[in-house]
Symmetry: C2
Subunit: 345 residues, 2 copies
DNA sequence: TTGTATGCGTTATCAA
DNA sequence: TTGATAACGCATACAA
């Protein structure tokens, strides 16, 4: 039956088995063109395909149609617990629309990022969801100018009309500061994420505003920038803050990992949280409720972030001339055990 | 210059710009065939490619060569912290060899898995790394019979000569039980993972052996199976064990998530760990050192697992007739605060 | 060393 | 409704 039983059957094998031309077989197998075919022929072709175990070759199809039913998802590092829920959110929407998702890690390295995106494009991905935006991001500008369909998730860039889906960081930070203020803290530090990222900058700015709104101590030295969003850099920032002998009774960390770095330093120096210092994280990554103490944090709906970014990308693919819109998803404060009123001496 | 400036340049555009035939351009651009070309021509072609910003179309290349420089990575769920390090390990090896990695999540659903793998195969992936093996796994058997190149990671199947890279679970469990025995525990429970998985079965069996080797209480009712490797099912198993009023002073959990489930139940019932009950997890997922109490666990080198699986897959791609070998990577016990001598009444 | 011709598997255009 | 033909972009056997 099959001309070459060792390799998978092609459309041609199906057509031969059904006694029709490949073009007819193609039309019979594609739901969108099946109507052009007599029901009887369609049935015969489908039966033949079935019995041969025919699977369309997506590579050939992509080449012909220059579509791939694939989108690229560009993230810094999958081992950061922030990203897996975003990935699953993206997939949950795209899969139901028949799209596949191709994930690449860039480690926030510009050259790797360029190479990975190039590789995605050479595979004809129909759009990009990007979670790696730095504020200054020439590659994104270039892609945008080339008309690449893309959506940012969890990040924004300035001065570039690219649609973005992010958590409402400003409100999240405001909730955190308000919570501390209500507990009675007046001198609050901020361990900021990298200020070269939209997120780091945004949160730092929101922190500053919130501090002023609540008429708390407004000291620039109480904000320390972390080089990366990591436990290690969070610890380093905390140490420098303590070594500076600035007195403060609470810390708003740029994210949960930075907050975990604070925990490390507390252990090193025999400080107690929350009695000596209160800490608030950001993101509500998994298992924070099981820490010692359980970490108060700002929850961002990451799965939803991914899902909405995917929906937005589908809209853009459907209508490329669609103007860029940004979507802000609400953040909420999750109060746990790492925050308490300050001890008054 | 470019016939159609709105679409990316093709090899043909490069050839025209360099004043050569496409075949020549193809040879000049491919390092493996460049030697057949005069240095001068090669230079001219490469310059033309450069100036046009030419990127080879991988889809066309795949169709022609039926190679894709891509392998598929099949995992249950990226949000399980076990898998991201494996993914990165796989990538670290494959990328340096010029391969790309396609990740798919199956949620351990047989139908999704079938569909995803089908989609990978239709994209001409050159091999599969599979982390989802159940003991009874007809799909794997079928793929194997079809000659699909694949390697299992973190899982094994019985009776099927498929290469596998796994942690040394048996030794890991033995270390855990020995540690508890040395602390003085004589009645130890096991919250097993799903016994339909190779991992769940293997660990449960190793537990049984270790208990006997140390002449501890050997009571089948002290082993409870969890339906999934989850916190939720770990908690359920722990509750049923407590409700049974079996007396035991320590628990070896099938993995860390199951151990976390125990923590939840301890909180519910006012039990204290480790003074009332000691707990050991498995995997050493991130941040366990920050739990209350820090979780004693068995560390498995997940990044290495991924890296070795990738190396093995490359070997298999290079030599398809290569006999299946299995690799066992050493597990180590990480003692933290969740284990202590039993309280004697 | 270079050019010619062909085909990978599919879909789209045109004609019958 | 179906068939013939061409083309997507590239790589390779063969010829020159």
């Amino acid at each position: 039956m099959n001309a070459n039983p060792s390799s998978p059957p092609t459309l041609r094998d199906v057509a031969e088995a059904a006694g029709v031309h490949t073009a007819t077989a193609s039309r019979a197998l594609n739901p969108k063109t099946r109507q052009q075919i007599s029901a009887e022929t369609a049935r015969r072709v489908m039966r033949a395909a079935e019995s041969l175990g025919y699977q369309p070759n997506s590579v050939a199809r992509s080449l012909k149609t220059s579509r791939s039913a694939t989108v690229g998802l560009v993230i810094p590092d999958l081992t950061n617990p922030l990203f897996p829920p975003i990935v699953r959110g993206v997939e949950s929407v795209l899969e139901s629309e028949g799209y596949n998702v191709w994930i690449v890690n860039t480690d926030n390295d510009a050259e790797r990022e360029r190479a990975k995106i190039e590789s995605l494009r050479s595979r004809q991905v129909e759009g990009l969801i990007v979670a790696t935006a730095r504020l200054e991001h020439p590659l994104l500008r270039q892609l945008h100018e080339q008309g690449v369909t893309m959506v940012l998730v969890n990040r924004q860039v300035e001065d570039l009309p690219i649609p973005a889906v992010t958590g409402d960081d400003a409100t999240g930070i405001t909730l955190a500061v308000r919570h501390l203020a209500e507990l009675g803290h007046t001198s609050i530090a901020h361990l900021a994420g990298p200020l070269g990222t939209s997120t780091g900058r945004l949160r730092a700015r929101a922190f500053r505003h919130a501090v002023r709104d609540h008429e708390l101590r407004d000291d620039p030295a109480l904000t320390v920038e972390c080089a990366y969003w990591s436990e290690h850099d969070g610890a380093a920032a905390m140490r420098s803050l303590l070594d500076d002998r600035r007195d403060f009774t609470a810390v708003v960390a740029g994210n949960d990992l930075i907050a975990l770095g604070c925990y490390d330093v507390f252990a090193e120096r025999g400080l107690s949280c929350p009695s000596d210092i209160s800490v608030i994280g950001f993101n509500d990554m998994p298992f924070l409720d099981k820490l010692r103490p359980p970490l108060t944090t700002v929850a961002v709906p990451h799965h939803e972030l991914g899902a909405e970014a995917a929906r937005m990308l589908l809209d853009c693919i459907g209508d490329p001339s669609r103007p860029a819109r940004s979507l802000l998803l609400p953040a909420t404060l999750v109060v746990r055990g790492s925050t308490a009123p300050p001890i008054t001496h």
